[in-house]
Symmetry: C2
């Protein structure tokens, strides 16, 4: 899987207080609503709750708020200069996303990583992407290949320019692009949701830049397999590709055990 966005994320928390907020730019792909959250698009009006929710979510996903951090409705409300009510609503949303641990009459805290949840997200994403490959093999043509290739070239350019966050965005988009090209737009929301759950953790990984070359190579092989419409090969590559997550998880778990629960 993917690589990380660290470094940058630490820088962001400083920017957040200014008016220029690069974090929103860099993490635009993270900020995109997930599968259960995209329901709020009905709400054409942007409420105070929405704003608080998004701000806090970005802080948590970027690790500006670390697992275990205490969050008080009153304190956050005061910080935002609003009443407790919208904060309470935002807390509830974050709680349902698994980002906050809310218990009555007890301090609300940022949830740590859960091995269980990570394994679940990995399994679901794997299952989905495997099926996507099958579907894609049925409809893949030169046009699809060109489109994917264009993204891949950008990935290489991003690596050469050492803009790792840009690469991460492109990697994210690459997988979604194949969904789209394969006619599996149904899978997109859920895959995004799965990545949100695991990518927060990758921020802490240090040796991610050592693996990007392999990632690029696998992306290349994937396109080749799709061009040949070789389903077996494509699914094999996906299994290997997503298997990379395991070592990252193991690394973080041993290095930052305090962030797990």
């Amino acid at each position: 899987m993917s690589m990380p966005e660290l470094g940058i994320s630490v820088l962001m928390s400083q920017f957040r207080c200014n008016e220029v907020i690069p974090s929103k730019q860099h993490f635009l792909w993270l900020s995109t609503v997930g599968p259960m959250e995209n329901l709020k698009i009905d709400r054409e009006r942007r409420t105070t709750t929405d704003q608080v929710f998004e701000d806090l979510r970005d802080d948590i996903l970027s690790l500006a708020l670390l697992p275990g951090a205490k969050m008080s409705e009153a304190e956050v409300a005061a910080r935002f200069g609003i009443s407790r009510q919208p904060v309470r609503d935002a807390f509830n949303r974050l709680g349902h996303l698994g980002l906050l641990k809310i218990r009555p009459q007890r301090a609300t805290v940022v949830r740590g990583f859960s091995i269980e949840k990570i394994a679940e997200a990995r399994f679901i994403r794997l299952a989905l992407e495997l099926e996507v490959m099958k579907q894609a093999c049925n409809v893949w043509d030169q046009k699809c290949s060109d489109s994917a290739m264009r993204n891949l070239e950008e990935q290489k350019a991003a690596i050469d320019a050492e803009t790792l966050d840009r690469f991460h965005t492109l990697d994210f988009q690459f997988h979604l692009l194949i969904c789209e090209l394969g006619g599996c737009h149904h899978a997109i929301d859920t895959i995004m949701s799965c990545r949100q759950k695991t990518d927060r953790l990758c921020v802490l990984s240090f040796n991610r830049d050592k693996e990007v070359d392999s990632v690029i190579e696998e992306h290349h092989q994937l396109i080749a397999a799709l061009n040949e419409r070789d389903e077996a090969k494509a699914t094999d590559i996906i299994r290997t590709h997503l298997g990379r997550l395991d070592s990252v998880v193991a690394e973080i778990q041993s290095k930052h055990a305090e962030y797990f629960e």
Copy 2:
């Protein structure tokens, strides 16, 4: 709005006060918490919000509250004899589950079926169950077979006794059982969530009892395939099996177009 929020739902509210609650019985399998809702198990205390949420969810999933029915925070609060606050929280949860359509300054309504959402749930469930079959083939043994067979026998008994709801519960458990036996407990929550989204619709189907024999037969074939550890055969059966949903959806869509959005 379209449909009455009265009728059956009013009848049910009478039952709710009694000790025998048939609706809860019939839809017990539906009531089981979904993947995003099971997070609330942290809350060891059962809050008023929880109660309202579960009651309304059951009403919606059992179609006691039909798509399009208007729901007012104030009205529900008065009916439950509580303040608007817990109702509001419950509404928000239901909104995030895609069961309610909440818009500021506008009446909240029960969401109708969405072809998009149904297709999405179908795709995700298919992808997951396919991967489950692969995993299960690797670990399947006589003990697993016996366990699954026991459930299958109960299914047959339920059919003979003409207790269709009992059969439905067992069918639900059958698929989850294979997840568990195959070591894919990670998939359970999401599969349950997917079924919740589609099974509300199946309540309206009239000819499901005509298909149960085929369903039983496929379940039988599935166990046979797993016993032979024949991955290709197992996945083929799953594709056919889940494909049944399509005709049901088509039937309901033509017969109850007013429930779709």
